[in-house]
Subunit: 175 residues, 2 copies
């Protein structure tokens, strides 16, 4: 499945670290790229630096128009899933999500109301306030049933030569 993350509502300074976390989670947990509404070159640089050192071909596009991106995505047969505490709770919808191309939209504090109607799915990871980073990560993990946790990024930098392949739990413990 092709997965792209759409990050809305980024406010420079205030959201620098959380948007960077969103991008790194998208990359580490199976998305192919991130579209960033608004503009923050330092976030883009931080994520590209991780890709350069740690591998994979995750891409990031800055200064996008969110609505145009959604329309383009849908024209190509993609579906849009919006993570929001006002959506349907994950356990009740996870099995109904049917898409070859999925755009996962996550906002900072507020998103344009139109997003709720443009989205094919509005999904909550609990109806409690917590974190778009958490929502994205749990969602990606559930969507891919954990397969994303064992991806080999074949990067220049890696931890213990990809320790989980050695098959020994003891080897992996740092002591």
């Amino acid at each position: 499945m092709e997965i792209v993350v759409l990050r809305l509502g980024h406010r420079i300074d205030r959201d620098k670290r959380t948007t960077t976390h969103v991008g790194l989670c998208a990359r580490a947990l199976g998305a192919q790229g991130m579209l960033l509404v608004g503009s923050d070159d330092s976030v883009v640089a931080a994520i590209r630096d991780v890709v350069e050192r740690w591998g994979g071909d995750f891409w990031i596009k800055n200064r996008v128009n969110w609505k145009q991106e959604i329309f383009k995505w849908k024209e190509k047969g993609g579906k849009v899933l919006h993570l929001t505490m006002y959506g349907a709770n994950l356990p009740s919808v996870i099995d109904t999500i049917d898409a070859d191309k999925l755009m996962v939209a996550v906002g900072a504090e507020k998103v344009p109301p139109e997003l709720y109607t443009l989205a094919d799915y509005n999904v909550a990871i609990t109806h409690q306030p917590h974190s778009e980073i958490a929502a994205l990560s749990i969602f990606l993990d559930r969507l891919q049933e954990g397969r994303e946790l064992s991806t080999d990024f074949e990067g220049k930098t890696r931890i213990n030569g990809d320790v989980q392949r050695k098959g020994s739990k003891r080897d992996e413990k740092v002591s």
Copy 2:
């Protein structure tokens, strides 16, 4: 299972929002409280404000000594699990975690090396760089097998009177 989150390495200003996200995730995803190494009254206030409005009895303790807290926890029979990209990857260890009382330690950038040896488990959510918020959230979701997603916090504020109970997916869609 009793779950407490230990947050290390908090740097005032730089980590204000990520530590707040850690605390909100801990609360929303089944932990009973958070111990915060360092001191940041605004983070404590933000989390207590959510508890006050959204319910539950999640607690937060500021300015703790991390090592003392670990020793006290272990004296009471608790175990300590450290989330770190240098640990054993989650799929290989999730079934071996055996504890009635579990302290889940998450750092910001660096943690004291001693934490690796004091921890009963060092667990990675992939060996890629991403986010301690993501690591904590995926871990709590897997540990509790998703049961935490349906907790009723019985707060003054709630979304649509706990919509997931109505049983209709359509009702939950905001339009």
